[in-house]
């Protein structure tokens, strides 16, 4: 058992701990973190301002560390290392001895030494605690300035803008993101972010920051060129400096400009001490990205086992979305290599800039810059990383499709060693191996290799490789819904819509073969209902429905049914509650509050359903569609009407939403919830669409799921007014209804949607497909033609004939036997049933 102490619990330190805990090495791990909380996702820090919480950003928890046997201490930084005694000491006086020590202390924001940089509204942006600071300062502010126009500065600008402030970026250099972009790319980026209302000031050296006297702002920044800028707060985000003081103090070798020197094995000048992540200096360089840090962590872990691997530096290519702008940078973006030549494409109309740097002989890609459109990034990166020969006309790689033929680098052309997912270090070979080992779908490969589960940037490439490999194995990706229709659900939807088909028979005759089955019939039934909203028990639709839809109730294990009336938003009057109790008593039904804020009555015989529903309908209840692939419930919290924190009337909104979408037939069931404030008591972020009240309106989340594979919903749009909210939901739902596969919840649909959330936003918010109106109209027509299926059913004697166990006798199925438990009926077990029967005989 080897005793390992890790200082620092940032992204890289955490990765080290996880890797070591999972490795074969017997180690006792102690982690000491300077921040008050376990590791979190710093890369996505700015999402905090668009609705994510500290909890969402967490990469681990204290409980998880305890479970895997790691001793962890937080909020207690290490202040000294004694290399002779092999001991470290924390601020609060704790002491730990080590056999191996790992420094993962990361870095801190560089604050330029400008006079006045210590005024209160001057903040930095690196930790969750900083977020609190920024938020507090922003409260009374109207204008915010970010000092630094690099990657981190623009991230910070995004945060400031999300806080609703007039946002300025002040950069010392002549261009934005000078490290990653050439002058042309930088200029295009500037154009784009100015277009969204961010003020950019370049070539500005701040000389002094003064407290403002004329009241135009709390602070006044004065520049070397004589200009000045009033502001209410300043965020310094002008670069990083490694946390290397501990290493200096104990005599480890550090670089001239900071950073703890390490070798290929991530060892410092003391062979029992490792350094990894942003505090480490390798080959004279600090790697300010997370992926290289992870590779260092893995290399450092491997030194403790039998199979050490080396760290050889890492590629610093990046693809990012900054202030909504796609930016990509690969390799030698500035064309510094001798003899290199560049191809540039720039279109100011659509604000796209692309530049390729190729070798003198025109054969290899050395670097690239992309602004405004990163769709070629994956392909270019593969050329670059794998040294693949360029096509004869490399310019075709960046020209728009209409001009040149864009030869996208086929999945087949990539070597097995090509890294596909850099977050999880998955190569094409790993993907092939996973398929060889039995994975037979994209989802399998994802869960097997973890590819595409980090930043998600590799998702499209991953899919094309999996598709290609599966096709190559003759594993044809069969998308037919069943043997009767050689179409996907989405294709069937179009055929039915375009052909104005109103019945299954016509559909089968025109587009299918055979007689249909329990897969295609309900799917067609659902599409017919989504499109034409006919009463589901019309004779021509009857045979299409699952028993649950046929009897408008859910079949239970003994053949009886459950009854679930709609209780919109979970709000129910005392009188209605009494009716539910009376009905349950009268028909001997088991009663339970469901997980969806309503009441389920179980154990009804099919012949009793109409009478039960007659009483319920008379009391004002409607069907709850618990049986249908349709809207289930819209959970609610009491919101501003009662709750002291509520900022909007979440109750009224929940009821409205539930009533608007009730009855809508969809590929799978869907659920919603509305919370009255960010405390989120209605758990809206676990729903297909969730609504959370803000001071200014509503935040809309989509794609959440509880169930078998929970998925946190994605924040889709913020601060919507009532009307826009409903408009977006209409479009979102109808688009889902049209394009999802059979039995595909919105979560899975979204995960498989090419282009993901951004694409969905483009369709729903920007109307990129030009179908928004049509989607809204279709939703309006369905909402307008709603009918309670139970009400229609009990008024139709012809239909009621079906609700019988036997058509030739009034006898009851004697296999259905109940016993009492906790003062309510439940189905008898087989033994109980035989016993009861035995006594009767």
């Amino acid at each position: 058992m080897i005793n390992v102490v890790v200082i620092g619990n940032g992204m890289v330190g955490h990765h080290y701990v996880e890797q070591l805990a999972a490795a074969e090495v017997e180690a006792h791990i102690t982690v000491i973190g300077g921040e008050p909380r376990p590791a979190y996702d710093r890369v996505h820090l700015s999402e905090f301002f668009s609705g994510r919480t500290a909890k969402d950003l967490a990469l681990t928890t204290r409980e998880h560390y305890a479970e895997i046997g790691v001793d962890a201490y937080f909020g207690d930084p290490v202040i000294s290392i004694d290399r002779d005694e092999k001991k470290v000491r924390t601020e609060s006086g704790r002491e730990f001895t080590y056999e191996k020590l790992v420094l993962a202390t990361g870095s801190y924001p560089f604050v330029p030494p400008v006079k006045g940089n210590d005024h209160k509204p001057c903040v930095v942006y690196r930790t969750i605690d900083d977020l609190g600071n920024i938020q507090a300062q922003a409260k009374e502010a109207k204008v915010g300035v970010v000092v630094g126009g690099g990657l981190l500065g623009l991230e910070a600008a995004n945060a400031v803008q999300n806080l609703g402030l007039e946002t300025h970026v002040v950069e010392f250099a002549p261009g934005l993101m000078g490290v990653q972009l050439d002058a042309g790319g930088s200029a295009m980026l500037r154009r784009k972010i100015e277009a969204i209302g961010v003020y950019v000031h370049t070539s500005k050296a701040t000389e002094v920051i003064e407290e403002s006297e004329n009241g135009a702002g709390r602070l006044l920044m004065k520049f070397a060129d004589g200009g000045s800028l009033p502001t209410d707060m300043i965020v310094f985000s002008a670069g990083i400096r490694p946390f290397d003081q501990l290493a200096r103090d104990c005599g480890l070798k550090v670089g001239e400009r900071g950073g703890i020197d390490i070798d290929y094995h991530c060892r410092t000048s003391d062979s029992d001490i490792f350094a990894i992540g942003e505090c480490a200096l390798f080959g004279g360089r600090i790697y300010g990205l997370v992926a290289p840090g992870y590779r260092m962590a893995e290399a450092a872990v491997s030194q403790l086992g039998d199979d050490p691997i080396a760290f050889h530096g890492a590629d610093m290519s990046t693809k990012l979305k900054l202030l909504g702008v796609d930016v990509g940078s690969i390799g030698d973006a500035h064309g510094k290599a001798e003899g290199s030549v560049a191809y540039t494409f720039s279109d100011e109309r659509i604000e796209v800039y692309k530049r390729l740097i190729v070798s003198a002989d025109g054969k290899k890609l050395l670097g690239a810059v992309l602004v405004g459109d990163c769709s070629d990034y994956d392909t270019l990166l593969q050329y670059f990383l794998n040294d693949i020969d360029l096509p004869a006309n490399p310019e075709s790689l960046v020209l728009p499709y209409s001009v040149g033929e864009a030869p996208s680098l086929g999945a087949a052309a990539l070597p097995a060693s090509a890294t596909i997912c850099s977050c999880h270090n998955v190569s094409k070979g790993d993907i092939v191996a996973s398929l060889d080992a039995g994975s037979c779908s994209l989802a399998d490969v994802k869960s097997e290799t973890k590819a595409a589960s980090g930043c998600g940037g590799c998702a499209a490439l991953l899919k094309s490789i999996v598709d290609h490999e599966m096709a190559a194995r003759g594993l044809e990706v069969n998308t037919s819904i069943c043997e009767h229709f050689a179409y996907t659900r989405q294709e069937l939807f179009h055929l039915i819509k375009v052909g104005c088909i109103k019945s299954f028979d016509v559909l089968l005759e025109k587009h299918g073969s055979g007689r249909g089955c329990d897969i295609c019939k309900p799917a067609a039934g659902s599409i017919l209902a989504s499109l034409w909203n006919d009463y589901v028990l019309k004779e021509k639709h009857v045979g299409l429905q699952d028993t649950n839809d046929t009897f408008l109730a859910n079949m239970q294990k003994n053949g009886t049914y459950s009854v679930v009336p709609r209780i919109a938003g979970g709000e129910v009057t005392p009188d209605k509650l009494i009716v539910l109790g009376q009905v349950a008593k009268k028909y001997n039904l088991y009663t339970k509050i469901t997980g969806g804020q309503r009441i389920d009555l179980f154990g009804a015989r099919v012949q009793h359903l109409p009478a039960i529903w007659r009483e319920l309908v008379d009391a004002g209840f409607e069907t709850g569609h618990a049986y249908g692939k349709a809207l289930r419930t819209v959970k609610s919290c009491v919101g501003s009407t009662w709750c002291r924190y509520g900022v909007q009337d979440s109750m009224a909104m929940a009821i409205y939403v539930e009533n608007r979408y009730k009855g809508l037939r969809s590929p799978h069931k869907f659920k919603s919830a509305v919370s009255g404030c960010t405390r989120e008591c209605a758990e809206a972020q676990s729903k297909d669409f969730g609504i959370i009240a803000t001071e200014n309106g509503w935040n809309l989340f989509v794609g959440g799921n509880g169930g078998m594979k929970p998925r946190h919903a994605d924040l889709f749009a913020t601060d919507l007014d009532d009307e826009t909210l409903i408009k977006y939901i209409d479009r979102f739902l109808m688009f889902y209804v049209r394009t999802a596969d059979r039995l595909q919840r919105t979560s899975v649909w979204m995960d498989n949607l090419e282009g993901g959330l951004d694409y969905l936003r483009a369709v729903v918010i920007e109307d990129s497909l030009g179908i928004a109106r049509e989607l809204e109209e279709q939703m309006n027509s369905i909402a307008g033609s709603y009918q309670c299926e139970w009400k229609t059913t009990i008024e139709d004697p012809e239909r009621l004939k079906r609700f019988t166990e036997f058509v030739n006798t009034d006898a009851e199925d004697d296999h259905v036997v109940f016993v009492q438990e906790r003062q309510q009926p439940r189905p008898a077990t087989e033994d109980e049933r035989l016993q009861l029967l035995a006594i009767e005989v």
Binding site: E483, H484, R515, C517, P522, G543, T547, K557, N808, H815
Partner: protein
Amino acid sequence: MNNSVILCQQADLIPNSGICVQVQGEQIALFYLPQENPQVYAIGNWDPIGKANVLSRGIVGDLNTRLVVASPLYKQHFDLVNGECLEDADFCVPIYAVAIVADQVLLTQ
């Protein structure tokens, strides 16, 4: 057809779907497929896998040209002609000979 039993009226049948009758304590599921020949099929109503009397409430269709009903409980398919379970040959449901004669559905033994 001397010793045949009347199960129900033809009008009780539902096209492309099932109903159930009980005769001498036995539950028989009747499926009416107007486009097929013959037009009615009868199998036991007991689902031997789901262990409940529910087969008459399943969806009918064909798989590989065999006429089947899918159990509403766990979706196994039973052959309407010979009673076999397509997913698990260990399970089989009884079949009954039936016919429509003069608007009545008869059990013809």
